[in-house]
């Protein structure tokens, strides 16, 4: 497994620009929630880091599923 990716080093391959922090809306089980994530300032391609996906996001998924 690779080392954790540093988000500041990420570039969007298509647009050739570094990712920057921006507003993203996530959605699950009918609930929408705005979060700040790294994404391509041009095309909007979003990056979800591994720690977020396997940590907080999973907790939120479980919480919403049990509602």
């Amino acid at each position: 497994m690779s080392e954790q990716i540093s988000q500041q080093n990420l570039v969007c391959v298509k647009c050739r620009v570094p990712l920057t922090l921006g507003q993203v809306t996530l959605s699950y089980m009918g609930s929408n929630f705005p979060v700040e994530l790294y994404k391509c300032p041009r095309c909007g391609l979003v990056f979800i880091p591994e720690a977020l996906a396997t940590g907080k996001m999973q907790q939120v998924e479980t919480a919403l599923e049990d509602k």
């Binding site: 990716i5 540093s6 809306t25 959605s27 699950y28 929408n32 909007g44 996906a53 509602k67």
Partner: protein, 772 residues
């Protein structure tokens, strides 16, 4: 589940019923708790348990006649526990001043108690605590009655004084030298007071009880449940109603309590009789398993008159069996995991189904049960938590309340098995009809495709009338997931295919398929492969590759009632020369391996605990006749052989330690179908599209297995990224990062080009959707 069903389920779990000692005690002393405290030397806690229901502990703790001992379970394996001796040990060693008695706000009604013996004093105490003004009429010049005749050595006067000191805090007036009879008539008392309790001790003095109705024997007629007499305001009890030969101090106390309850109810205008069935001594429904308990005699007291020393009391309390049922919880790791027992769990399931808003706390518990039915086998009343959880899952699915993530992976896998990549239905090559059809089952084929093929080829040579082949899924994952509609559709599809083959006898290799068909395809004759092989014989030199050894047989939970199957499995092992080691719970009481009911997808930690416990039960190598059980045990590091492999793949050099991941399981199924079609039926199935080549190192493969990500999922992400260009690059390491959401899960893959393919560095997923 409605309220009525809930109560029926709850009633079946008898764990909360009192132990025999408590039920048999007229005032229901919690002797089990007392013994538990005494065992730890916690005398104060023991005394507190005693005081809870005994109004005069100093007295009763020394002179109780212990009817409880007759229903002490220890009596079946040794002497009943010396309960009163333990009570006395708690009194002597745990002595703390009696807590101040705080009566309820005073009531206007005045109650007369005739007789200051144990029974009258108890009634006076209980009534005074409820706020009644009580006047006690006693013929003698002091309180105590019959107990005053007990020698000082057994019942010191100080003990009596200490107990009776409680009256100093309560609105009770004592009138000594006041014999009820000619000068002070009972009728006059009944006129003056709101109610009267007559407890004048043995003797049934005609003058004191003048005017009360008599029974056929000439004694005062007393209702045993309420202690009511023929006079609506007069109650009578204590040794008055038992006679001189039966002076039970604890029964006298119990009567005093019962009279106080009756009088209170009378004065409150409530029913005298409602809900009093278990007020007195009764039998308990609590089941306690004493198998394996050693016969133990009572611990003798060195100082017989003085009672137990601390050490002796601890020892004696240690003999207490601490009666409880928990038969199911003791055997089931899943039930034990939540720290309680089915009566509580049923309530949690019910509440979980009932709440409209808020968190469904029991979702995980409901979804984690293996539905194996062991609890129903072990429960004295047959309570089946599996059926309750299965029903709850159906309701959750019906109402859209089933967490989608739990069964998603298993249901997608089921779809794979029931679809083109695996499903197949054919007559035996060269045959137009089928007398038999072999149904190996999707997971058996996923785990042991080689053995499945060999078994089919063997059946074709051995059985007449044509042996068709059906590959597919029996629908078990849908059934376990509560997906009733999907399950029914799957069963109907199987039935359609089976009828198209001419309704042959189905030979199942998988115990779960057997069970699913047995219960849901009543028209189909079914026989497990194992009983069939036991009957028709085995291939020559079968199993020769595996050295004969003792094998601990793990019976599959889905066929716990198939006695013939259990027998055949052992018979086959015998034919192979293996010795059989039986596990503690097996055959009809066998336990799930940790896969059943999709437990492994709901709570991997519990599933692992279940498998770990099972594999720890014997040092011998294990033998299963379900491939999933084998895989689960091998994951625990336990050498486990799958019977089909022993019979048909032993020459392939199996070690009993092979593991197969989810990706291989799919690959094995589709390859089995392709190869069988090609080699047996001469049909060429299109090879799966070569697509993109991904190289997955072992550590990443392991991580993907834990995260339930397939090699195919990873390949899809890379293919998507490479074709659309939607990917990120880490400028530090040069790796690409891309995601794709083919259905309900977003997969992320970190990769880099390598030769003509792509090397995978990481993979993870989430269900939350990125909107914009």
């Amino acid at each position: 589940m409605d309220q009525k069903t809930l109560r029926e389920h709850e009633a079946k779990c008898i764990q909360e019923n009192p132990p025999g000692c408590t039920a048999g005690c007229p005032v229901h002393v919690d002797a089990r708790a007392l013994a538990a405290a005494a065992r730890k030397g916690d005398w104060a806690a023991g005394l507190a348990a005693f005081r809870k229901t005994v109004p005069f502990p100093e007295i009763i703790g020394r002179i109780c006649d212990q009817p409880c001992r007759q229903s002490c379970k220890r009596g079946e394996v040794g002497d009943p526990i010396m309960i009163n001796a333990l009570e006395k040990a708690c009194l002597v060693n745990g002595g703390a001043p009696l807590p101040r008695s705080a009566p309820l706000p005073p009531k206007a009604a005045r109650v007369a108690v005739v007789g200051a013996g144990l029974s009258g004093l108890t009634a006076a105490l209980e009534l005074a605590r409820k706020g009644y003004l009580v006047v006690v009429f006693e013929a003698a010049d002091r309180s105590g009655g019959g107990i005053l005749a007990i020698p000082e050595s057994k019942l010191p006067r100080k003990a009596i004084d200490d107990d009776l000191a409680v009256f100093g805090q309560l609105p009770v007036e004592f009138r000594y030298g006041a014999a009820v009879g000619e000068s002070l008539s009972l009728a006059a008392l009944a006129d003056e007071f709101a109610a009267v309790y007559l407890a004048t001790g043995p003797g049934d003095d005609a003058s004191s009880a003048a005017g009360l109705g008599r029974d056929a024997a000439g004694s005062i007629a007393i209702d045993p449940a309420t202690l009511a007499t023929s006079h609506p305001k007069i109650f009578a009890g204590g040794s008055l109603r038992r006679g001189r030969g039966d002076r039970s101090p604890i029964a006298a106390v119990a009567d005093g309590k019962a009279a106080a309850i009756s009088i209170d109810r009378l004065l409150q205008g409530a029913s005298l009789t409602a809900g009093r069935e278990k007020e007195g001594p009764h039998a308990t429904a609590l089941y306690t398993n004493i198998a394996g308990a050693l016969q133990l005699p009572a611990v003798p007291a060195a100082d017989e008159a003085g009672g137990y020393s601390k050490d002796e009391a601890v020892q004696e309390a240690g003999r207490c069996l601490q009666c409880e049922c928990r038969e199911c919880v003791k055997a089931c790791e899943y039930l034990a995991h939540y720290g309680s027992y089915p009566r509580r769990y049923v309530r949690e399931v019910y509440n979980n189904l009932s709440i409209v808003m808020g968190i469904h706390h029991a979702n995980k518990m409901i979804d984690t049960c293996s539905l194996c039915g062991q609890c129903a086998q072990l429960c004295p009343n047959g309570l089946d938590m599996g059926e309750i959880c299965r029903e709850a899952r159906r309701m959750m699915v019906e109402r859209g309340k089933m967490p989608p993530s739990v069964h998603d992976f298993a249901l997608r896998d089921m779809k794979f098995s029931a679809g083109d990549p695996f499903a197949l239905s054919r007559h035996q090559p060269g045959h137009e009809t089928s007398k038999w059809v072999f149904y190996p089952g999707c997971q058996q084929a996923a785990s042991s495709p080689h053995a499945i093929r060999k078994a089919y080829e063997f059946l074709c040579t051995k059985l007449d009338g044509g042996v068709g082949l059906m590959l597919g899924c029996c629908g078990a994952p849908a059934n376990w997931a509560g997906q009733e509609r999907l399950f029914r559709e799957t069963v109907q599809e199987t039935e359609k295919n089976w009828r198209a083959l001419g309704s042959p006898t189905i030979i199942t290799a998988c115990p779960t398929c057997f069970s699913m068909f047995h219960h849901n395809l009543p028209a189909a004759p079914i026989e497990p492969l194992w009983t069939l092989l036991d009957r028709i014989g085995l291939p020559a030199r079968t199993g020769a590759g595996i050295k004969a050894r003792p094998l601990a047989v793990h019976d599959s939970c889905t066929t716990r009632h198939e006695t013939a199957l259990h027998h055949s499995v052992r018979s086959l092992l015998g034919k192979l020369g293996h010795e059989i080691a039986e596990l503690p719970h097996n055959r009809e009481t066998t336990v799930c391996c940790g896969y059943g009911g999709l437990m492994i997808f709901a709570d991997r930690e519990v599933a692992r605990k279940v498998a770990a416990r099972r594999t720890g039960e014997s040092a011998a190598d294990y033998l299963t006749y379900c491939a999933m059980c084998r895989d689960n045990f091998v994951r625990q590091g336990k050498r486990t052989f799958y019977l089909l492999d022993l019979l048909f793949a032993a020459d392939a050099g199996i070690t009993g330690l092979e593991t197969i991941d989810y990706s291989q399981r799919r690959e094995n199924r589709s390859r089995l179908k392709r190869e069988l079609l090609r080699d047996l039926w001469g049909e060429n199935m299109a090879e799966p599209q070569a697509g993109i080549k991904v190289i997955i190192p072992d550590d990443i493969r392991q991580l993907m297995e834990e995260r339930m990500i397939l090699a195919a999922d990873v390949a899809t992400v890379v293919a998507h990224a490479e074709s659309t260009g939607d990917k990120l690059q880490d400028t530090a390491g040069g790796h690409y990062l891309a995601s794709h959401r083919p259905a309900s899960v977003t997969y992320w893959v970190e990769y880099s080009p390598a030769g003509d393919g792509f090397l995978i560095h990481n993979a993870y997923s989430h269900r939350i959707e990125i909107l914009y």
